[in-house]
Symmetry: C2
Subunit: 599 residues, 2 copies
């Protein structure tokens, strides 16, 4: 009767590990929790940045024959790094294992997951084990910043050996988490905090794949200046899969008032004036939770000199074109009248939403890069610089990796945010481990890696869910006028590319002026040459910069045909530090007394 | 008085290592030897392919304060993987260490060089230590097939610590060896073996950088069919640095006789007919030693149906244009009248010597690839296939890596020969660890990686020492008519490239027909676009095949504008197997009793 015993039985693990287990609980730092399978598996973990290891505590309710748990590149059960608890019918075993590309499980040569404790509790079996971030075992997953795809499987029956386990017959699943969460405690919310819900009332979600819904609302008359200190999404129950992302914008103070509107943003009925509502107040996307500002900063809204009008934009993603679904999703703002020291701002880095930036079909890892140039930061940032404290990476469906790097004097100096296992289904706003200061003249380089293996035509940049974006929304203070610092290849050079490919392949697709860029991309014959040359073009051709104020107006200056920033030295991926494993690492499976109570 | 003691003193190493040391000598397999510094350092080693480790025995004569020994990518003392024996004035230490890019020495986290024995002998101090091929320590060198650059340094005085050692103040050096020699024993030479020297008599080496010297000689009248079973170079003393490579060719039997000649191969005086002397009998290049045929095969020469005339070609490399130097270098053939089972042959794989294959300047790792296509092997190989038993890789000065891969049905299946640390100064003919069988329809892909960081203009393919080659001379049996199976990009597509670069950069260099390809390459503006597009061209454009008989006549068929072989799956570099290190691996330096004799 596993998991229901009140008598705790401990695995026979030697002394030092017991002490370690105790000290883990002794230090009482934050422990993160995620439910892997409701009612069955619960994972808590604890990160030590000093030891460079993670302590995992896996609670298995109603244990049957065992459990698989681990990590893999994108959540697949193949090529996964696993711990396995299994029984051969007699004894139970715990081991560090890995699965090959066919999903067959093998014992690891190096046992890097170290079992510290196995304990039957009233809730179920609790396994406590730890693993270093890096093991230098080529079969192991490298635990990095950013998204980690946790995988699990439930063993329903005994297996004679690890190799006998057939993954395809198991109940398996995945859960995306940020395993290496920063040690930043959630800032306290001031006592005078009030809330405000910005929601589109009773929207009938169109039965279209992609809809951007625009809704105009307003702050009360005479609403004074406040600081937003936190916000969170409100998703109408049942629509969790349809609401892709939401943003709250403030309109420009240039106009006294704005007409009310609730409808698709591309509707002919939409008042022209709404295109002047572009100053971001809050942004949420699939997978994110509540967002807290650091204690020294808040996002200003209200008061003289700012518009009372707000625009909520909700991106509905309805691929099955479900009709008749009603929605009132939105964002709940938490704000205070006690202004904090700094106004915070949000800046958009990466690529302009334009089809000139495209990914050929059938690519496994095509990289597009957007720049925020030294010329723009020189002009638009204050001489004291700005401080980035949070970042939200954003792509559409084919995005696989995103990174923003800071470069100073031609040298990459710092990673602003990097996710090597980025998923468009898990777009959190993440607090940075370390605040990144950007000075005048610095360059910010945002690169996205895409996988278009399942596409037949080129994927162009744009707003549609089947088009792509490469964006990093950085949260920073003190606020500046610079709201958008992005680039795209010069369109004239792209036309040179189309001409060149046309001639080289002696084909005749239309490169005439009446063809649109997406049409031109759709007619490129995709062979190794046209792919490689597109890559070469993006790495060479001059760019068009968007160095914009909130009003969608460019800062003054020449922004077309700008040279690509010259980078003379790049940041190397740090060589992982591999701990010297002591004699305590077992060479094979550990026999576990899984504490089946007989009390 | 180190190294002169007759009383052997042993380091205090625990028991198991002593047993290992004994067993090493007990198994009595071949031990390889190389002199690192005459009179000072001598290295012997022993490879276990089962244990995947190398036992090193380093003899240090006249030990002063210590010695560095190790391996690095290309023989530099920076970024090297080292063992260090040093003294702080009191005790002596042995440790696994590494040097960073500035040449500073650090202790390795993992101690992968394991000291087995340190013994004072009458000859000097003998250090016996072992290391696995792969350690999975990112600071360690991966011991692979092919060239290994051994490095060493002599410590003349005590150092307080590893970190205190200043490499630039030491006497250091490098020696290239094939560390992982195959376990093929040298075949016995038959009792009736005779020798014949093919030497150009008394050549006055021209004071030109590059000279190919041609010399015609002949076999005795009625010389019957023999098998060459071995050959070795004869280099005139003092000219070791001038003789770059030598080949012995047999002339075609089509002509009754050939005129005698001794002069530069490009001389206007050279009789036309000599271009019919292209069947390779023996080939030697800088760094190689004697070459033995396997016991079942020999290289046929003499007898009816074959020409009595031989051409010796000597490539003199005289960059300092030294005048008046006389030379009689050549090759000594060892041959037997007792014919072996198979006739052996030599086949040339890789790139045609043509300027259409070029490397841009300032490249650190530019790859050029030559193909032997399925169409050629289908036509020219016997239905039973051929068996490659040895290989000699050849490039000129900028070559850094060479590999030939066998592909069958679009899938790479086997490495014929690979050298990731290839040096043009060490061009041995190497016996393969495993004979590679090539069937009709197989593809052989030879890739060379070049470093042109020190060049200002493009390096084109060709015969000159400052031009480049990418060749693998494979030795095989049974002999076929196919002597050369090489490719180059289609010249028409290269012209498309020149046009395209011209247009894209809006520059105006001459792509007119009167410009030669080297002139065209010399006027390309080398930017990231023209570099990337050249790479893209070579990876895409059709090729011109040379599928030739010994007579320099192509096999019948269409060989121009051939498609590049399609490869759907490539061989992955094997994941190195990292041994589980036991408790016997020390965590830091080992104290060594270096056995200063007091007898």
């Amino acid at each position: 009767n596993p998991g229901s015993s009140r008598r705790c039985r401990w695995a026979s693990i030697p002394g030092p590990n017991m002490r370690e287990a105790a000290s883990m609980y002794g230090t009482a730092v934050a422990i993160f929790l995620v439910i892997l399978v409701a009612g069955t598996l619960e994972l808590s973990w604890n990160v030590s940045y000093v030891q460079e290891d993670v302590h995992f505590q896996l609670l298995v309710r109603g244990l049957k024959a065992g459990v698989l748990f681990g990590m893999s590149d994108r959540g697949e059960l193949e090529n996964a790094d696993l711990v396995v608890l299994w029984t051969d019918g007699g004894r139970s075993y715990f081991a560090d294992a890995w699965s090959d590309q066919k999903g067959r499980i093998h014992l690891d040569n190096q046992q890097d997951y170290q079992l510290l404790q196995a304990q039957g509790t009233p809730d179920g079996l609790v396994l406590l084990f730890k693993r270093p971030f890096a093991t230098c075992d080529p079969k192991d997953y490298l635990i990095e910043d950013g998204t980690v795809h946790l995988v699990y499987g439930i063993l329903e029956e005994p297996f004679q050996s690890l190799e006998a386990i057939n993954i395809s017959s198991l109940h398996t699943g995945l859960q995306r988490v940020q395993l290496l969460k920063p040690e930043v405690p959630t800032p306290a919310v001031p006592a005078d905090t009030r809330t405000m819900e910005i929601r589109a009332p009773d929207v009938l979600i169109p039965s279209e794949e992609t809809t951007y819904w625009c809704y105009i609302t307003e702050l009360p008359q005479g609403f004074p200046r406040h600081h937003i200190v936190m916000y969170e999404p409100i998703i109408t129950e049942g629509n969790e899969a349809l609401v892709h992302h939401m943003e709250v914008f403030q309109c420009t103070a240039t106009f006294e008032s704005f007409p009310h509107f609730s409808g698709p943003c591309d509707s002919k009925m939409k008042p022209q004036r709404l295109s002047y509502c572009r100053h971001v107040l809050a942004a949420w996307a699939l997978g994110a939770k509540a967002f807290y500002y650091p204690e020294e900063a808040g996002l200003a809204f209200g008061g003289p000199g700012s518009s009372r009008y707000l625009r909520l934009e909700v991106h509905y993603h309805n691929p099955l074109k479900i009709p008749g679904r009603r929605d009132s999703s939105g964002i709940r703002l938490y704000y205070t009248a006690t202004l904090r020291r700094f106004d915070a701002g949000i800046m958009e880095l990466g690529l302009v939403y334009t089809p000139v930036m495209a990914i050929p079909p059938k690519e496994t890892a095509f990289v597009l890069t957007g720049y925020c140039t030294d010329k723009c930061t020189q002009l638009a940032l204050p001489s004291s610089g700005v401080h980035i404290f949070a970042s939200q990476l954003h792509t559409h469906l084919t995005g696989r990796k995103v990174v923003t790097v800071l470069a100073r004097d031609g040298r990459e100096t710092e990673i602003v945010n990097r996710d090597n296992h980025y998923s468009p289904h898990f777009q959190e706003i993440r607090m940075l481990k370390k605040v990144v200061s950007v000075h005048q003249g610095d360059v910010l380089i945002t690169s996205c890696t895409y996988n278009t293996e399942d596409r037949k035509l080129a994927t162009v940049g744009g707003f549609g869910i089947l088009e792509e974006m490469c964006v990093n929304y950085v949260h920073y203070y003190p606020q500046t006028q610079l709201e958008l610092c992005k680039s795209a290849v010069d369109p004239g050079f792209l036309q040179k590319y189309f001409h060149l490919v046309n001639r080289f392949n002696s084909e005749d697709f239309c490169t005439c002026p009446q063809a649109t860029v997406p049409q031109q991309f759709a007619s490129v014959p995709w062979n190794s040459f046209s792919r490689d040359v597109l890559r070469a073009l993006y790495a060479f051709a001059p760019i068009s910069m968007h160095c914009n104020r909130s009003s969608a107006v460019r800062f003054q200056g020449e922004w077309d045909l700008q040279p690509l920033p010259e980078i003379v030295s790049t940041l190397e991926e740090p060589t992982p530090h591999c701990p010297t494993r002591g004699a305590q690492s077992p060479a094979g499976p550990t026999v576990v007394n899984i504490g089946r109570g007989r009390a």
